[in-house]
C-alpha cells in the first residue's frame, strides 16, 4: 500500500503546482488588463512637481504631506468631467484642510497659460501642480481623466477612482482618509 500512498502524494503535489500556476497566470492577466500596477493598499509613490498657485513654494513633494490624508486628482483643462468635479473639491477643501486632509490637483496640460486662466476662473485654493511630461501620470498608471487617488495618513492608497466624483462620494472618500485627531 506504500506505493499507493506515494502515488497519491505525487499526484497531489503535481496537481497543486499546476493549479497554483494557473491561478497565478489568471490573476496576473486579469490585473495587468486594467494596467493597475498600483493597487489599493500600496504605498503612494513620491513625486516632485512645480506648483502653479503657491507663492512661496517652487515645487511640491508628496512626502511633504506625511501624516496627512492626501487626495491626488489628475485633471486637465480639456477634460469636461474634471471641470464638473473641481467645484466640489473647492467646496469641501477648507473644512477638510482643517482636519488634516490636503487636496493636490495634478494638471496634465502642456501650456501654463491655460491652467492659470482656469485657476483664475474657478478660484481654486488647493495646491495645483503641473505634470507636463505626464511622468507622474504614468507613475500612477492613470489612463483616462479624471482619476483620483485617496492616500491615507500612513501613505497607503485607500481608493482609486476613475471618472468624475459626485459631491457625496467625494466627501465619503475624504472622510476615509481624514487622520484621527
Amino acid at each position: 500500500m506504500d506505493k499507493k500512498k506515494k502515488r497519491l502524494i505525487f499526484r497531489s503535489v503535481l496537481l497543486t503546482i499546476m493549479v497554483l500556476m494557473t491561478v497565478y497566470a489568471v490573476y496576473t492577466n486579469l490585473t495587468s488588463d486594467k494596467k493597475a500596477v498600483l493597487q489599493v493598499g500600496d504605498e503612494a509613490p513620491n513625486f516632485e512637481l512645480p506648483t502653479m498657485n503657491i507663492n512661496n513654494k517652487e515645487t511640491l513633494k508628496l512626502e511633504d504631506y506625511k501624516g496627512q490624508g492626501v487626495m491626488l486628482n489628475f485633471w486637465a483643462t480639456y477634460c469636461g468631467p474634471c471641470k464638473e468635479e473641481m467645484p466640489y473639491m473647492q467646496q469641501l477643501y477648507p473644512a477638510y484642510k482643517e482636519k488634516g486632509v490636503e487636496i493636490i490637483a495634478i494638471n496634465l496640460d502642456k501650456s501654463k497659460l491655460v491652467v492659470e486662466q482656469f485657476l483664475d476662473e474657478y478660484g481654486l485654493t488647493f495646491p495645483v501642480v503641473q505634470d507636463t511630461t505626464s511622468e507622474v501620470m504614468q507613475l500612477y498608471d492613470v489612463g483616462a481623466l479624471p482619476a483620483s487617488y485617496f492616500v491615507g495618513p500612513d501613505g497607503k492608497i485607500e481608493h482609486k477612482i476613475i471618472g468624475a466624483l459626485t459631491l457625496e462620494n467625494l466627501e465619503g472618500y475624504l472622510q476615509d482618509i481624514t487622520p484621527e485627531s
Binding site: L14, M18, V19, D33, K110, S111, V114, E116, E135, L139
Partner: protein, 544 residues
Amino acid sequence: MGNRTCECGHVNPKGTVLCESCGKPMEGNQHIDGNEPNKLLNMRYDGSARRSKTYNKTFVDKVWNFFSSVKVGVWLIVLVLVASAIGTIYPQEMNNQSPLPAAQYYVEEYGITGKIYYQLGFHDLYGSWWYLLLVAGLAISLVIASLDRVVPLYRSLKKQKPKRHTTFMQRQRLFGKAEQATEQDKEEMIANLKKKRYKITEQEGHVLAEKGRFSRWGPYVNHIGLIIFLMGVMLRSVPFMYIDETLWVREGETEPIPGTDGQYYIENVDFFVETYDESDPRFKDALEQEGTVVSNYQTDAIIYERTDDGLPGVEPELTKIQEGAIQVNNPIKVDGFGLYQTTYQLNEFKSMSFKIHETNDKEEKAIGGEFTIDLMNPESEYILENGMRVEIVSYFPEFDMEDGEPVSVSKYPKNPAFVLNVYPPEDPNSPETSFLAIGANLDPEENNQYKVSITNFETRDVTGLTITKDRTLWILALGGLIFMIGVVQGMYWPHRRIWIQPKEQGFWLAAHTNKNWFGMKKEIQQVIEGTDVPMVNDQVEQEQ
C-alpha cells in the same frame, strides 16, 4: 482486476492488458483495450497498464483521471478552437481604434450580439478568465495524459522479452508460419535484419528484432515543447519579461521611454517621410500608374539616460548614450528595448505669428511689428514695438464648440484658437476683443479699430513609436523547436518489431509497426528474400 502474474512468470502492474514480458493477453483486462470480440490485439501503448483506467478512489485520483483522459483533452482543444474562432467575429478590443469604451462600443456597433460578445469577454479573449482556464486546463491535460501514458509504455517496452506467448503471435496483424524453414533460413533472416539496422535480442531461440523505438517518444517530446511554449506565453503578462507600449514624440521634444521607469529618454530630432523619385527612369512608369509611393519613414532620434536620482516629475539630468535613425523594420535598440517606427502625424502647429493693422486698411499694413505665439507654451501677453499690448484672454489648443461654448478637446495645438484683447496705444484702458481660429477672424462687437491677422506659422511632425521588450522570445523559440523535434521524431520513423518464435517444425513469424504497414510488409519481403520463409499474412486484409 484480473490476475497480475502471467504464466510466463512475470508480475505485471494492475490493469495490464498484454503481459509486459511475453505479450499474453491478461485475463479479465481485455475489455480495457476492446480486445474481446476481435481476433487481433489492440497494440496501442503495447497493452500497458494506464493507471487512469485502473485506479479511481480519492478526489485527487478523480481529478487526475479527468485530465488524463484523451477524450477530455480533445474536447478542451475543440473548445479553445471554437472560442478562438468566435473571438475573430468582432474586432478585439486591443485593435479597436474607437474612442468609445468597450462597454459602449460593442453594443452600439453590433447591437444585442455585440453586447453578449462583450459580456462574455470575447472582446478581450486572451484576457478573459474562462479562456485562460481552458488553455490552462489543456496544459494540465497535456502533462497528466502524457505522464499516464509515457511511463507505462516506457516500462512495457523496456520489460518486453523476445519470448512471446503464442496467442500474442497469432493475434498480430502480420503473422505467418514458416514450417519448412530451416535454422539456416533463420540465421539469414537475422543477418538481413541486422543490415536493416534492427536491434536483435535472443532468448532460448526466440528472436525480437526492433528498430525505431525512439519514435514512440515523439508525441511526449512534442507535448513538452508545447508546455514550454505555453509557459512563455503566460510570462508575457510579467512586465519584466514583456513590454509593448506606444509613444508619441514631437520634433524637438524629449520624452521618457515608457517601461523603463524613467531611466531612458528619447528626443525626436527630426521626422520625415521620403517618396520614390518620380524623375528616376527606373520608377517612372510604375509611379505614373500608382501615384506617390513612400520609400522611407524615419525618425532621427537621440537616446538619453537619466543620471540624477531626482524624483519623478523633476526635470531630469540626461546623458546622451545613443544617436541614430529609426526606420520601419530598423529599430533603435537600447538595453533590451526596441524602438520601432509605427506611425506619425505631419504638420502639427508649433507657433503662429501675427501682425496688427487697422481694420479698414485694405493693404493690411502692420502696425508695430509682429509677435509670435509659441503654441505649446504661450505667454499671457505680448508687447509690440510701439508699446501696443496684446493679451491672450483664452487659448484653445484644439478648438471645438461644445454646447455653444468654445472648448479645447486636447492639449496639443492641432486646431489652435484664441480670444485676444488688443490695447490700443492711445487708449490703454479699453481693449478690443477679437476671436481667431483657423479660417476664422471674428470681431464680436464689429466695431474694432484694429485687426489681428496671421502672417506666418511653423509646424512640426510627431512620430509614433512602439516600444517593445520581449524576453520570452527564446522560450517560445525553444518550445517551438522541441515541439518540432517531437513531431519529426514521431512522424518520420516507424517503430517496427518482428518476432521469430521457434517451433518443432520451422518457426512462426509475427510483426508489428505503429505506422506504415505497407513499408513494414515491404521490409519483411526484403528480409526473407532468398530463404524458404513464406511471406506473412496481413490478417486485416484477409478479413476484408
